[in-house]
């Protein structure tokens, strides 16, 4: 009877709800980052609220971390002071990007997670009803521990089959967004399932949920299963796990079936995420900067793939390479595994955990006419700090392979060459 969205909201609102109902739900996690937090704090101060009520209220300093200018340093001070006084948790400069930190340590299956950042939907991969909102909504949610939702209709995405070597979950989600468009799921929930998703690692699943908002979706949900369990267990959070699945007879607005084997590596062309094409149409495009990181693809699995491709190689002379682990834990793990050394030897610059150049605040701002191939989730005009720059989006494998070639290149070449070498 219920989709994942309906089941979670029924539990959290105490009302048996289905799509289109308006409900008031309990908030388990309410989060801000340093770009949306200051406005939220000022709204709370305006209302004379100086204590938070949501079970986990967290401020993440990640978008401008470390701060590149005095105005932003002052914003950070405001957030530090407020969280101390209000009883909220502070995630400091260098701890990592909000969404990576949320899945690592805070969000759990069945939770309602609201964040002052559109990619809060990332935690949906853990089976949490996780969604982005603006500063005032988050401030109120934090203050009273509740928020309101219109229960979304759900589009079910059924993926079956095996990816070709060199194709990853990033290619799948870019392919889907290209197919349904940047408003293909506006006001709706996406729910991912099928044998490909069942077999997929948690880290790859996060990529799907992270980018649900790029199709306009409110949430991008995935059932909580044994893969979820193993992920939480490995993080010492076994007690946070519980199974959660949609009902067999759940009512979907539509079901979209995708054969994973048919997907080629995808590239989103400037300046919209749904301007997605198979890599063959981007091949040969010269790249000035490659960026591997962000809440979409800055996890250990991503860095491992990139390091495998870059191992013993050098970036092309005219192509800069920036690598940013999404969190302190990812950074540590990459250090332990020797991945950072591989990157540095390949000519990369490694920067501290955070959003880095993703949103154009600092670090790696593009020059006029420059092209960046990025593993992020957005390529809007001006996104990387310069409206005269061009941002292409792709998987970490495509990004790493293209950094060596100096132009957008098909990572399947690397993987098929590798198979031949191993034979």
């Amino acid at each position: 009877m219920g989709t994942l969205a309906e089941k979670i909201l029924t539990a959290k609102s105490g009302k048996d709800c289905s799509a289109n109902d308006v409900v008031i739900a309990k908030v388990d996690v309410a989060a801000f980052q340093d770009g949306t937090g200051p406005l939220g704090v000022r709204q709370l101060q305006k209302m004379n609220i100086n204590k938070v009520k949501a079970a986990k209220s967290i401020f993440f300093l990640d978008h401008a971390a470390p701060s590149p200018r005095q105005e932003l340093s002052n914003d950070h001070m405001l957030l530090r002071e407020f969280s101390k006084q209000a009883g909220a948790i502070l995630s400091e400069v260098g701890d990592g990007v909000i969404h990576q930190r949320l899945v690592e340590s805070f969000a759990k299956p069945g939770d309602v997670v609201i964040g002052g950042d559109s990619h809060t939907c990332t935690s949906g991969a853990l089976g949490a009803f996780a969604t982005g909102m603006g500063s005032t909504d988050i401030a109120i949610g934090m203050a009273i521990g509740k928020t309101w939702f219109k229960v979304p209709k759900t589009i079910r995405i059924e993926v079956n089959g095996k990816f070709q070597p060199g194709v990853f979950s990033k290619d799948l989600i870019l392919y889907l967004i290209g197919m349904i468009g940047a408003d293909g799921a506006t006001y709706k929930a996406l729910e991912f399932g099928g044998s490909t998703i069942d077999r997929m690692s948690m880290e790859s699943r996060f990529v799907l949920s992270n980018m649900a908002v790029e199709a306009g979706a409110k949430v991008g949900l995935i059932a909580s299963d044994r893969v979820t369990r193993e992920y939480l267990k490995a993080r010492g959070r076994l007690k946070d796990w519980r199974p959660l699945a949609p009902d067999m007879d759940a009512d979907y607005e539509k079901v979209i079936k995708i054969d994973a084997a048919k997907i080629e590596p995808q590239v989103a062309f400037p300046h919209t995420v749904d301007n997605t094409r198979p890599i063959s149409s981007a091949k040969g495009k010269k790249v000035s900067q490659v960026f591997i990181g962000t809440c979409t693809n800055g996890r250990i699995e991503d860095l491992k793939i990139a390091a495998k491709i870059l191992s013993g190689k050098k970036r092309a002379t005219d192509t800069r390479l920036i690598v940013i682990p999404a969190s302190r834990d990812v950074y540590l793990e990459a250090m332990k595994l020797g991945l950072l050394a591989t990157f540095v030897k390949a000519g990369a610059i490694i920067m501290g955990p955070g959003c880095g150049p993703c949103v154009g605040v600092h670090q790696g701002v593009l020059g006029d006419g420059e092209v960046c191939l990025s593993t992020a989730n957005r390529n809007f005009k001006g996104r990387m700090g310069n409206p005269e720059g061009f941002v292409y989006l792709a998987s970490p494998a495509t990004a790493a392979y293209s950094a060596i070639k100096g132009k957008i290149s098909d990572p399947r070449e690397f993987f098929s060459a590798k198979v031949k070498r191993e034979k």
């Binding site: 770009g35 982005g132 005032t136 109120i140 940047a182 408003d183 154009g360 001006g382 700090g385």
Partner: protein, 166 residues
């Protein structure tokens, strides 16, 4: 209340990065300054040439992208009466209501740059005076109307102490 002003026409997919560019991130605690750059990357002339009470008129999926509430906030602060579009992105829609910026869903193909518009907030009718036509308008959901009528979410919560949506 009747709002009157000229139309400023924009296309489809006006993202929050175009409305409120990331390179002005450091101005987010200085909203009047930030408002001087409103919609800058979509139309560099807009902020300096618009008059108070003018309308922003766009195509599909206005406000897609980031959750930054600064986007609707600076549109309102710049003096825009309302945003008219064929459709809006979800987070932007909710933010605009929360900060008290009226949004109208209608067929904006019937409006050109510079047309004189009149929005009657109580009847919800949009009149294109230049073309001498009335436009059909999609009404706001009840929950949102309650928040907008209270003057935004902060005022709503201050008034009721909780959400009062039906």
């Amino acid at each position: 209340m009747v709002l009157k002003g000229k139309a400023w026409k924009f296309g489809d997919s006006i993202s929050t990065d175009l409305i409120c560019p990331g390179r002005y991130f450091h101005l987010r605690s200085n909203l009047p300054e930030l408002a001087k750059h409103v919609l800058e990357d979509a139309d560099p002339q807009f902020a300096s040439s618009m008059s108070k009470d003018d309308f922003v008129v766009a195509g599909n999926n206005f406000g897609l992208g980031s959750s930054r509430e600064h986007a609707p906030t600076i549109i309102k602060l710049a003096g825009v009466s309302a945003v008219l579009a064929k459709s809006f992105a979800r987070i932007f829609y909710r933010n605009a209501i929360n900060v008290g910026l009226p949004l109208v869903e209608c067929d904006t193909d019937k409006i050109d740059q510079g047309d004189e518009l009149e929005l009657n907030l109580s009847t919800g009718i949009i009149r294109n005076k230049t073309k001498d036509i009335d436009l059909q308008v999609q009404s706001l959901p009840k929950a949102m109307l309650n928040i907008l009528n209270d003057g935004g979410l902060v005022a709503h919560i201050q008034k009721h102490g909780d959400f009062k949506l039906d």
